[in-house]
């Protein structure tokens, strides 16, 4: 237990360092991009431009800007939006993270649930029509990018089933209704579910041929017990191994999906803030993403020993 806590502590420090590094690099690179958030087709004068820069501290030397920003971050303050003056970034991103996390969690359920189900059935019914259909579906699902699936789903739910959905399941027409979550989550999770299905099938095929599973069958245990308690648990280890990169993929994939479905989450903010040169939000989003990916990977690593007692920290 002590070892696990020590490991978690080390990893948390590493995540903090990585997040700080990522946001620092983004901070420095962003300031090299031409363009300004304050220029538009209104009466911007040199004086008003200078006033804007002064208000946000953008007229200070870059090292000083960086120091001010870092001090703010240590106090949990990511600054103020350049486009929407007065809007504080930390509460904004926390709210948007909760939206993204809802969709992401649901997508993870789709990924793992559907992937495991297809993989297990395909393995148990190897070389039958069940296997062929499941395997083919997995190949197709894995080959189609999530944004194409999203467009298909929009067509189905937004057009063919319009009378049933009234369009509210797919756009951000007042985000907050749980019925809005499944469709984008399926679009986000489906390609990864196909990957999990293929991996689970291969792993299950290997496991169900092992001696201890054969022994379980020979003991006369029920099929459900043999599959879930003996075969699946061990077959899951390679699946959990890829869970880290998979969660990362879902987090980054949300950038595309949130924009297609108009979901007011972190992914959508990421794109709009870059286009608007809202430097402060861009840095904030990167910081959040870096932290999220680190924490997601840590969570997966912590789950590992639960499934495989041989692993100790």
């Amino acid at each position: 237990m002590r070892g696990t806590l020590l490991y978690i502590g080390q990893r948390l420090i590493l995540i903090a360092v990585t997040t700080a590094l990522v946001s620092s690099i983004v901070f420095l690179l962003l300031h090299q991009i031409p363009g300004s958030a304050f220029l538009n087709e209104t009466r911007t004068t040199p004086q008003s431009l200078a006033a804007h820069l002064h208000h946000y501290g953008l007229d200070l030397p870059l090292p000083q800007q960086y120091a001010n920003w870092a001090i703010g971050v240590l106090h949990g303050n990511l600054g103020e939006s350049l486009i929407n003056r007065g809007v504080l970034i930390t509460p904004l991103l926390i709210r948007e993270t909760s939206v993204s996390a809802t969709v992401g969690a649901f997508a993870l359920i789709v990924t793992i649930g559907l992937g495991l189900l297809l993989g297990v059935f395909a393995a148990l019914r190897q070389n039958t029509w069940v296997d062929y259909i499941a395997s083919s579906a997995a190949v197709v699902g894995y080959s189609i990018p999530s944004f194409v699936i999203a467009i298909f789903l929009l067509l189905i739910f937004g057009h063919y089933f319009y009378d049933w959905t009234q369009g509210t399941v797919y756009y951000n027409v007042g985000w907050g209704d749980w019925t809005q979550v499944p469709v984008p989550a399926i679009a986000l999770g489906l390609p990864y579910a196909s990957y999990v299905a293929r991996l689970t099938r291969a792993s299950m095929l290997e496991t169900i041929r092992t001696d201890y599973v054969r022994t379980a069958w020979a003991k006369g245990l029920r099929a459900r017990i043999v599959v879930t308690r003996h075969a699946l648990r061990n077959a899951l280890i390679p699946v959990v191994t890829i869970l880290g990169p998979l969660v990362t993929g879902i987090i980054t994939g949300s950038v595309v999906i949130e924009n297609i479905f108009g979901i007011p989450g972190l992914g959508k903010e990421f794109v709009t803030s870059i286009l608007a040169r809202d430097y402060n939000i861009v840095i904030g989003v990167f910081t959040f993403y870096a932290g999220l990916v680190g924490l997601a990977n840590l969570t997966v690593d912590v789950i590992y020993p639960v499934l495989d007692p041989r692993i100790r920290y």
Partner: protein, 562 residues
């Protein structure tokens, strides 16, 4: 009078009183009003600034003109009329001193009385904060000191008593009275602002608890980038706030999503705060006899044109110039004319303006039709379609084709700008035989480069801030104009602008028109289209409209039974 006659008279009187009592302020019988008087509509983007001193986007102004007000406002015909002011200002004979008298009954939404000190405080802080429109106070004596941070008070502003004050200008400025009706001159509550922080802090305006104004409505809730809510101010100083009991605004980036919700009665309307429909949707509504009853198309106050670069070399005629443009000066005039004459604007409007539902062709100069300074329909000789003359002019301006080789028209990436560029490029290829590449760039990079006159030929547009020609010339066409992007310079025009700006509009309108004519005659801008505003409202929503610059006040809207 007989008993019958008395009875009849009494009955008629009772009937008349009943009818009056049953009617709302706009003449709608209250029995026809829906029990839920919530006005709801979507916006693509959230408001950018909530403090009058820093506001600049049309969206912000359309929303917050319902919560703040100033000495003057514009009526439906864009005439400037008193709001908090008690009548017109007294202007000294030299045109330098304006004395404003205020109504005595004006209160902020928190009940604080509005006094001259509040106006002086509001105007001083606006000059100090230096928002995009702080230059509204540039003519006032002491502005420079405040804007430079050397002083906190413009010495030209003087309190006379609690309900009157004067503003002294450094030089006569005929347009300044119009500017006093702008948002930068709205009054804020000195007590509230100072209680929340420094005078120049703007955070108070984001918090519904401290966003105190003198308008008919008050901000009650705000979730950034998600929604805004407003409610009428109880016992508003100006009288009735209409029938609307709540205003709910949602930030919905996708126009299709907006319409989907509108069509399921989720919104009262689409169109307030400068919103529009997608091209296919506006055509669908416009072409259907039933649906078209929900759609109103009104002339807007924006002109879009082809910007030609007038740089003749490094540093000339503007310090921003870095290269010699083929379109500059007298030598470039035939090219400018050729590129303008080669455009069939009917075709452009059909394709890029969704068959005229988003914009109409610009044939009367750069100032939009309907605004003061407009030259009249078909007065721009270079806005007609004449491919034969265009080819001749091209031959004259670029006989060996070297000047128009590898030309790139640059625009900031929007669907409309892309449609315009694609159509222009195809028409120039077909009518002039010139290949022009379309280059889109993001908004921030585009304005950054355009401000430095970096593009030889580019998209330009301007939306009037108020109905005064000075708003166009001072910011677009005088030498080193901040939003010009073309580095245009004409000493004659500069001197005419100086003269016209010093006089009241009644005496200067002809000069402004003459200036507009100079622009047209020299084909300084390739005028393309004037914007059309779209308001889509259910039949049960009354008053969902506006003029070329502003939406109707929310108090003008009523929700009928449905």
């Amino acid at each position: 009078m007989t008993r019958l006659a008395v009875f009849r008279s009494l009955a008629m009187a009772v009937g008349a009183v009943s009818m009056v009592a049953a009617c709302g302020p706009g003449g709608t019988p209250s029995s026809n009003l829906a029990s839920d008087q919530t006005l709801s509509f979507p916006m693509v983007d959230d408001v950018g600034n909530t403090d009058p001193a820093t506001m600049s986007a049309a969206v912000d102004i359309d929303i917050f003109r319902n919560t703040y007000s100033g000495l003057y406002k514009f009526d439906d015909q864009l005439n400037e009329i008193p709001d908090i002011a008690d009548g017109q200002p007294q202007i000294s004979s030299d045109g330098l001193t304006y004395t404003f008298k205020m109504k005595h009954n004006v209160k902020f939404s928190n009940g604080d009385p509005v006094k001259a000190d509040d106006f002086i405080f509001s105007w001083d802080r606006a000059a100090a904060i230096q928002g995009d429109y702080a230059s509204v106070f540039q003519p006032v004596v002491g502005y420079d000191d405040v804007s430079n941070g050397k002083a906190t008070h413009m010495s030209g502003l003087k309190k006379i008593d609690d309900y009157s004050f004067s503003a002294t200008l450094s030089a006569p400025a005929g347009f300044w009275f119009t500017e006093t009706a702008l948002w930068t001159a709205w009054v804020v509550d000195q007590k509230v602002v100072l209680a929340a922080g420094k005078a120049t802090d703007t955070k108070w305006a984001d918090d519904p608890a401290t966003a105190i104004g003198t308008g008919q409505f008050k901000l009650t809730a705000r979730t950034p980038k998600q929604s805004l809510d407003f409610a009428p101010v109880a016992n508003w100083w100006g009288g009735s706030t209409g029938t609307i009991t709540k205003v709910h605004i949602e930030i919905v980036a996708d126009q299709k999503a907006q319409l989907t919700k509108y069509e399921s009665n989720g919104y009262s309307l689409i169109g307030f705060a400068n919103q529009s429909l997608t091209p296919e949707d506006v055509i669908r509504y416009h072409s259907d006899s039933q649906l078209s009853k929900q759609l109103q198309l009104l002339p807007g106050a924006r002109t879009t044109w082809i910007g030609f670069n007038f740089c003749t070399g490094k540093g000339t005629p503007s310090k921003n110039c870095t290269f010699a443009s083929a379109f500059a000066g007298d030598a470039g005039k035939p090219l400018r004319e050729a590129f303008s004459l080669a455009i069939d604007r009917d075709q452009l409007v059909d394709i890029a303006c969704s068959k005229g539902t988003a914009c109409v062709k610009a044939t009367g100069g750069v100032i939009t039709k309907g605004l003061k300074g407009y030259l009249g329909d078909n007065t721009d000789q270079w806005a007609k379609f004449d491919p034969t003359q265009a080819k001749q002019l091209l031959q004259q301006g670029d006989p060996n084709g070297t000047k128009t080789k590898n030309l790139t028209y640059t625009y900031n990436a929007t669907a409309f700008n892309k449609a315009v560029c694609d159509n222009l490029a195809s028409q120039w290829r077909a009518n002039l035989g010139v290949t022009v590449q379309c280059a889109s760039t993001d908004r921030a990079s585009f304005f950054n480069a355009r401000t430095k006159c970096s593009y030889p030929i580019f998209r330009h547009s301007w939306s009037a801030d108020y109905d005064h020609p000075q708003d166009w010339f001072d910011f677009l066409f005088v030498t080193d104009a901040g939003s010009g992007g073309a580095c245009y310079s004409n000493s004659q025009l500069d001197s005419m602008a100086k003269d016209a700006n010093s006089k009241p509009l009644s005496q200067s309108l002809d000069t402004y028109k003459a200036m507009n004519k100079i622009l047209v005659d020299n084909c300084v801008t390739g005028n393309l289209v004037y914007t059309v505003l779209q308001y889509l409202a259910h039949p049960w929503v009354q008053g969902a409209s506006g003029n070329s610059l502003y939406d109707n006040y929310w108090s003008d809207v009523k929700i009928l039974q449905h």
